[in-house]
């Protein structure tokens, strides 16, 4: 997997998975972690497609999804910007956290663990506190 820096973002693209999801997830995470500032301009579809050597339609799809998430805003003739609303980012971050928790809980349930076991695993699993 190759790492590519584009503006404030660092992308790792794995060609064996849908690229649109990877672009979307990686931008979402950088916004959630605060690696890119509120109101900051992000690369245009064309710039990102060229830097990643990826089809522009694929990048466009990820950008449309970000806008639906409320994480970005298009400004006419100026490009696409990260939202200036802290609340939008905070609520999106909680949504993601909830989704990740559900995925984790589902997987642990499928192994037959109870809630108590899960808490034990969260604090004691190898590598968790690294």
């Amino acid at each position: 997997m190759e790492e590519r820096k584009v503006g404030s973002f660092v992308f790792q693209i794995d060609l064996s998975q849908p690229l649109y999801e990877q672009i979307l997830d990686q931008i979402r995470s950088s916004v959630a972690r605060g690696e890119i500032g509120l109101g900051e301009k992000i690369p245009s579809v064309r710039e990102l497609a060229i830097s990643l050597k990826v089809n522009p339609n694929t990048v466009m799809r990820a950008y449309q999804e970000l806008e639906r998430d409320g994480l970005t805003e298009k400004r006419r003739g100026q490009g696409t910007f990260i939202t200036t609303s802290k609340d939008s980012i905070a609520s999106f971050k909680s949504e993601l956290a909830e989704r990740y928790c559900l995925e984790f809980v589902d997987k642990m349930k499928s192994l037959g663990y109870t809630e108590k076991d899960m808490i034990h695993w969260i604090t004691h699993a190898k590598g968790v506190n690294k």
């Binding site: 060609l15 690229l19 064309r46 522009p56």
Partner: protein, 230 residues
Amino acid sequence: MNAIECKGLSKQFEKNFALQEAEVKIPENRIIGVLGPNGAGKSTFFRLLVGQIKSNTGEIHVLGQKPSWELNHQIAYLPDRARWYLDYSVEKTIEYGKNFLPGFQEDKAYDLADRMKLDASMMTASMSKGQEAKLMLILCMAREVPLVILDEPFAGIDMIAKEQIMETIIDLASEREQTILISTHEIAETEGLFDYVVFFKEGKVILSGDVEELRGQQGSLQSIYRELYR
């Protein structure tokens, strides 16, 4: 809408079938990878689309029409192993494009030459293989036409030139509604470019579809390719 639709397409050269009852559907305004080993029928398919050869049986519809010289006004075609006149400079080549190629945009051609670092005064005779490939690409990509066909534009070209060509294609695809067919064997390096793919094997299409969907189901184009042809 589909840019290309072929039914029961066959083409025989002496005793060999280059295409045999091929069914091909290609959606418009995408960058399409046309993949398959040597001899699978890719170049024959392209030559049929531009009417350079006639099929033995089957139907071909390109942009809703049958292949013809009139239709070729709307198609920019870069043949496999294409070479250019040795005594032409980049400037003279662009002049040629302006005079003879429908839809050719001179400004765009100079932009592309600049982007790919081809000096206007450079002569074909003094060019490397990669530089000549870029020049041929300019003749195609500077044309504002609905269909572009590039038969192995990356063959035998160094990594940097390949990247510049890919960037140019992406750049143009982001500002135009254009269907771009590209055949190549350099799948690992170029697969990000494609959003639709058609796999040829022994004169037939054996798999085609949206690249992102295929990636979700079966992995990278490179690994799909390996499974199909090994």
